[in-house]
Amino acid sequence: MPGKGPDSLPVLPAELASSLRTDALRRAERDDSFWMRQRSQIRSRISRRPLPRRQPMRIAVAGALVLFIAVLLTSPAGQHPSPPPRVAADADQQLLVAVEHALAAGTPEALEPLTLLVVSSSNSNDVEPISHKEQHHED
């Protein structure tokens, strides 16, 4: 019977245990050429593999990656400068420039009569309040 107490070891009959071990050793027995071939294949496979990397390097790379991700995740989105409305600003700027150009260029020759009309009209507007005043005095 196998041992059941806390200090006793489960055992097989000595003869059976011995036979088992002997049988197992015999089953796994191979000639020397087998072991030499196995060693040679291990050597060859090791030489084909890249060198084992150092642990500290891996840790450093992993740490840097974690730090990078943490910074990305923890930085609040509100603090990012929002991109200016470039299209609108550009359009306003272009319009302003165009107006300035137009003012600087003066009036085209074909529109000079119209300019005169506008000037005379504005002159008459300047006079009109005086005439109103006169009217009031007359009243």
Binding site: P2, G3, P10, L16, S19, D23, R26, Q38, I42, I46
Partner: protein, 191 residues
Amino acid sequence: MSLSLPALAAQPDDRSTALSAADFDQLVCRYQRKVYRVLLLMLKNPDDADHLTQECFLRAYATMSTFRGECSVETWLLRIAMNLARDHVRNRRAGFWKRLLRLDAEGTGEPSVDPPSPHASPERALLAREQLDAVWQVVDRLSGRQKEVFVLRFVEEMELKDIAAVLKLSTGTVKAQLFRAVTRVREEVGR
């Protein structure tokens, strides 16, 4: 018997390659039979055992820098071997059972009826052979953990604490697993 490798594992990068090439070859030479034997008993397939023995040493080489000498090299290698065997069985369970049957039918290239002792009579030798075969068949039907414990205990004759170190179990768990394995073997073989 066991070799300690903390010095080898602690070598700076530029020297460890040259050192380990020679030392590692010595390590392979020293432990390849044991690793192969355990894997053969676990997997019952010589080709798989050969392949995984190589894999075991390759993995050992690749993780040599992490070996801190907290256990013996033998324990470390057997732990790698057992993990490989477990993964292999898990990944190819269907194929494993096929190979198991094939091995039972063909043996490992040796005669299936092999007298354990040259002095035994043919009848007695035949009976002993049959009994051994019956034991192995029961062992093959044990759970993975019980089988591991049984092989390490009765084939490799390891102490319970060493088995516990290889399998990363408590000594009490190892003892319980061994007790169940032995009980089942004795019940089924009828001794």
